[in-house]
């Protein structure tokens, strides 16, 4: 039987190869080249045949792989076992990713370029985790999340410029301002759901950007704000020399190197992102977190149980916005320059794509999605014109194979403990 199957597969492969040959001969086989007095045709039949052969071999391999999978598929896996396995995998990936993230700056291959990508990816991980509170937990589709990112960035830049406060004093304020804007956005849209909510939040994001663009006296308009102060390490500056006091490298007796500041920024965003993560994991298990999920599942049932929908949704908006604001302040201090161009709709779309592709509500899924979307596009920078194509193809592929996101396993926030009387 195995021999017959093999023969079938070989036959299929030969047919696929012949079809490919029919296509490759005209497409690859003939090539026009300029010759004296007009065009001449170069024959490249060998190339065409090689491509057709590759197609046949590929066809054979894919079929073999499928057959072997079918064989294994017969071993049925119970739902509970599958979910347990997925949980183990998720935890494993999470732990490995955390270890890698912590150790990245001390790895021998870590250069400035890699760290910069790391900082960028972590910024989006943090934004994804922040938006996940609004979209994944509370189920409020927010297409204007970048507005809070912008509010945080401009809050820090303006406060630092006008009052000369340090990054650490401005960081909580940036979060507070963003949360305040979250409440402002939240109030009028509380009654809206789904598509309508998405449109209003989209509009809100654009309003913020256009205000930033046109309020020239306050925000600098399209010129943006520059010379935003860099963060310091407990009062130690990251510069070659400082007018007021010691600098980082002098204090620790190191040679000056510009990478110190990059490493510091890397750990700063890592800590900010981890704080966001821990906060989300924790608040999910509190009554307010459960009320968010209940409102997402069924608003009418939640109301009938006495959940105040106004307050509950506003807290989700405010807390999500607050983390967006923190990330914005970090963005401003890292770049040293911000302008409305950094806060366009495409940013909101990318953050939302990270949340949706990662699997709504899955913290580890968001990390993977951010790594793929942000890190991936950075790595393939040379293929500039194909980047968006790859981006789109990846999204389509995930939506076809994993319509609920990469990791869409939901863990209950509380499990029934064994009865107090039972056991030791």
């Amino acid at each position: 039987m195995a021999a017959a199957e093999l023969q079938n597969r070989a036959k299929d492969a030969v047919i696929a190869g012949l079809v490919a040959l029919a296509l490759t001969v005209p497409i690859i086989g003939f090539r026009t080249s300029s010759a004296p007095g007009g065009l001449a045709i170069d024959l490249r039949l060998l190339d065409a045949a090689l491509v057709a052969l590759a197609v046949a071999a590929g066809h054979f391999l894919v079929n073999t792989y499928r057959a072997s999978r079918e064989g294994r598929g017969q071993r049925q896996e119970s739902h509970a076992a599958a979910s347990l396995r997925l949980k183990r995998i998720t935890h494993g990936i999470g732990a490995a990713a955390l270890a890698f993230a912590v150790l990245l700056p001390v790895m021998p291959f870590a250069d400035r370029y890699l760290l910069d990508i790391g900082i960028l990816v972590l910024t989006y991980v943090m934004l994804g985790w922040g938006l996940n509170i609004v979209v994944g937990l509370a189920g409020l589709l927010d297409l204007g999340y970048v507005a809070f990112y912008a509010v945080g960035a401009y809050s820090y830049a303006l406060i630092a410029a006008h009052f000369d406060w340090s990054f650490w004093a401005c960081l909580p304020l940036a979060g507070l301002f963003a949360a305040f804007f979250g409440v402002i956005l939240g109030f009028p849209v509380l009654r809206l759901r789904g598509d309508y909510l998405a449109i209003v939040t989209l509009g809100f994001g654009e309003i913020i950007r256009i205000i930033l663009l046109n309020w020239y006296e306050f925000t600098g308009g399209p010129d943006g704000l520059s010379r935003i102060p860099r963060p310091d390490f407990f009062g130690l500056e990251f510069s070659r020399s400082s007018r007021d006091g010691e600098t980082f490298h002098q204090f620790f007796g190191l040679d000056y190197s510009s990478i110190h500041r990059i490493i510091f920024l890397y750990y700063l965003i890592l800590i900010l992102a981890l704080v966001t993560n821990l906060f989300t994991l924790r608040i999910r298990k509190l009554p307010v977190g459960r009320a968010w999920e209940a409102l997402r599942e069924d608003e009418i049932a939640s109301r009938s149980l006495g959940v105040n929908p106004t307050n509950t949704k506003l807290t989700a908006f405010a807390i999500g916005a607050m983390f967006g604001g923190f990330a914005g302040a970090f963005f401003a201090t890292r770049q040293g320059f911000i302008s409305p161009e950094s806060f366009t709709f495409i940013e909101s779309a990318v953050i939302l794509a990270i949340v949706v592709l990662g699997g709504m509500g899955s913290q580890v899924g968001i990390v993977i999605a951010a790594l793929a979307l942000i890190g991936g596009t950075e790595l393939f920078r040379e293929l500039a014109e194909f980047r968006m194509l790859a981006f789109g193809a990846a999204m389509v592929a995930i939506m076809v194979w994993k319509p609920r996101g990469l990791l869409s396993n939901r863990e209950p926030t509380v499990k029934l403990p064994p009865k107090p009387g039972d056991g030791p």
């Binding site: 509190l286 009554p287 459960r290 999920e293 209950p412 509380v414 029934l416």
Partner: protein, 268 residues
């Protein structure tokens, strides 16, 4: 005479030109099962929606007298009725939180108590003892109800995965977890098989007798209504046509007319 638990006075609900409920008055007592019956479109669910704040009645007074004092339900927002007045309800088409676990469904019902214990989530975030004790108590209350509806083994499974009959009972248990004084059940026996209906009867009697809760019941299953009701209100075309104990309602000519139609000779 003491005040009844719920007194509905001259309740009228108009939707434009349509009068869904027309000048209906009745009362419901504590520790009693009061059924509202009537043909389809008689306005039963509209009465429920007025009681639980999903509609604002056009005319009428809905007075609830409980340990918490007198409350006028027609003036309150829906979630406040559940929170302050202690009126819990279930829905004709089940409304659980399907992706959340069975136990989580029961904890959402205790939202307000847990919110108070978590002090705007601060005590909860810090993991203070005050919150952990409150949560443990809430879980124990969940366990109590799960044992009574026979779902203790499915506590951590998603509520949406349960069979239909279990979902019905879970919805009732969830409503009871909010510690109500009046429980409104909208067709709890719809789609249940006879064995499940029997289980439901036992559960409702248990709730009435052991928890001292007034139960308001909309139901089409007449054998069930006649068996467990203490008091029956009959609606037809938005008006109350009869009221009384099961035996009296069964014999009432107006009720027979509404359900079986007019006698041909009498019409002529």
């Amino acid at each position: 005479m003491t005040q009844p638990l719920l007194s509905v006075e001259h309740l009228t609900m108009r939707f434009g030109g349509l009068v869904a409920v027309d000048d209906v008055s009745f009362t419901a007592e504590n520790r009693q099962i009061t059924s509202i019956i009537g043909p389809n479109g008689a306005g039963k669910t509209t009465v429920f929606n007025c009681l639980t704040g999903f509609y604002k009645p056009t005319v009428g007074r809905l007075l609830l007298t409980s340990d918490a004092g007198e409350q006028f339900l027609e003036r309150m927002e829906d979630f406040r009725i559940a929170q302050k007045a202690g009126v819990a309800r279930t829905f004709q088409n089940i409304r659980l939180f399907p992706a959340m676990s069975v136990l989580e469904n029961l904890l959402v019902a205790q939202h307000n108590e847990l919110m108070r214990a978590s002090v705007w989530s601060l005590a909860g975030l810090l993991g203070l003892k005050r919150y952990r004790t409150a949560e443990a108590a809430a879980v124990e209350r969940g366990r109590y109800w799960l044992e009574h509806i026979g779902l203790i083994d499915r506590a951590d499974a998603p509520a949406g995965d349960l069979p239909y009959g279990d979902q019905r009972r879970l919805e009732i248990a969830r409503a009871m977890c909010s510690n109500p004084c009046l429980l409104c059940l909208d067709e709890p026996a719809a789609g249940l098989n006879p064995r499940e209906t029997l289980l439901l009867n036992t559960l409702l009697r248990f709730i009435r007798d052991e928890h001292g809760v007034g139960v308001l019941l909309i139901e089409h299953d007449m054998s069930m209504v006649m068996e467990i009701s203490d008091h029956i209100v009959v609606l037809d075309y938005g008006q109350k046509i009869a009221e009384g104990d099961p035996a009296a309602v069964r014999a009432d000519p107006a009720v027979i007319r509404a359900y079986l139609g007019e006698d041909e000779e009498a019409e002529a």
